[in-house]
Amino acid sequence: MDVSAQHDASSNGHVAEVGEIMQAIAEHKGCGTTGGSGKASCGSQAGQGDLPTEIWEKVKNHPCYSEEAHHHYARMHVAVAPACNIQCNYCNRKYDCANESRPGVVSEKLTPEQAAKKVLAVASTIPQMTVLGIAGPGDPLANPEKTFKTFELIYNTAPDIKLCLSTNGLMLPDHVDTIAKYNVDHVTITINMVDPEIGAKIYPWIFYKHKRYTGYEAAKILTDRQLQGLEMLTERGILCKVNSVMIPGINDQHLVEVNRAVKSRGAFLHNIMPLISAPEHGTVFGLNGQRGPSAQELKALQDSCEGEMNMMRHCRQCRADAVGLLGEDRSAEFTTEKIMAMEVKYDAETRKAYQEKVEEERVAKVAAKQEELAELAGRSSDIKVLAAVATKGSGLINEHFGHAKEFQVYELSTAGAKFVGHRRVDLYCQGGYGEEDSLETIIRAINDCHAVFVAKIGGCPKGDLIKAGIEPVDQYAHEFIEKSAIAWFKAYLDKVNSGEIEHVERGDAAIRQGALISAA
């Protein structure tokens, strides 16, 4: 998080009067940007506008439930739940490496007491950390004592932190009352199928009521329990997100049906994620050569489900011990050894003041976008292009091309700028070796984009990007992403209309597999 950039943002004259702020809050969305076609990219379509106040309060500063919030607010996971009760073909719990970033992987397991101290330490260091999740590395509800003890400790010491958990759903119906008791108001269920025939290809076995089940029978129990748990949660008003792993050839077409099934049972958000699969992970899918989807295959599936319900596209598939904004991982700063040595003072007032500042900055960003969007009004064109953005948060173009660990991707049309995903890339600046290969990796990752917005870029990569047909844009450095993207798109349309350039479609892009190298 670039604190200086935040201050720039809130002091550059965009901060509005209180009345205008309230108006802008009411207008801005829980998630995503004005898409113009169907639902917003995720969260609510028009913020508080179409959401009951109590739901808006739950999602507005939850980075996972609100795309718009994820630019500003951070989350952390504590790894208190090592045991699991099902086996998935995309998971291998044996493999653990500090450079590895994918679900189910974690470096240190914590006791509930250590976890509670870690949460307070992080909350004091990162005041925009608003959400604590328990996501594993196994299944939180296969470790119910540890999971709920952790929630209890945090609920008692830091009640302003939102609690959430992510589960495979097998034991969910048994724990819904306890979840409600600790005020856990966000639950994610991983649902990859509603057809046990398909489930049998994803889950080799489950352990349920003292027995190991395999094949169709295992998948049937799992899907019944997942859907029952989802219904029980939504009946109690607990917000549910459904995660689905897209596995080409196994459940890719079927996920449209999953989408319908979870929507009809009241799920709030659907997150379709690409399969992470490489032989070195040692998973069944990694070893048998099962591929993950391409960027355009993933986007096409997300687009086809979008008319049905809110889609999440900003998931970074983070580790069970991740700390920080989505897309960054500061867990190395908070190892058990460092935490136990820290003197932690939980200061709720400072956190509140800081978060109020974040809200101001957020409102300024929305206002800037509205202003720019107004100028697009009346334009009509069928042209849609993708643009990649290098950012380190706050909704600003504030990252150097060579330092970006990921690019956020926006779809630009006359309806505006819509967040549609992100692409992980290796660090381009790695101290002098393999640089050319890294640049090729980046180009492959954003090959479906017409432009890449950066705070700064060197001469060499600039030339190579232009050669690859991607326009490097650095003229909007440290400005708001959406406002800048819309301004660039307007100019692009003008150039197409005047015949100065010809609009050509771009190709597909690759979703990066393997380890995220920490920028520490």
């Binding site: 045991a83 699991c84 003292h210």
Partner: protein, 74 residues
Amino acid sequence: MPFKIIASQCTSCSACEPECPNVAIREKGGTFVIDPKKCTECIGHFDEPQCVAVCPVDNTCVIDTSLPRYQAPA
């Protein structure tokens, strides 16, 4: 007295510990171990040994062939 955990394969996930009906499993030196004096192969409790059924790594909870098989009391 017969199940043991092969330490080099144990991921220390702790899934087996609460499943054991004899409270024979505990953590020791980073992995989990079965107390052979307490293990009954789950005979009389369940149809299948619970540690074997829940363990995520195949062939990690195995019969300890160096010891005689458990004999249920007559």
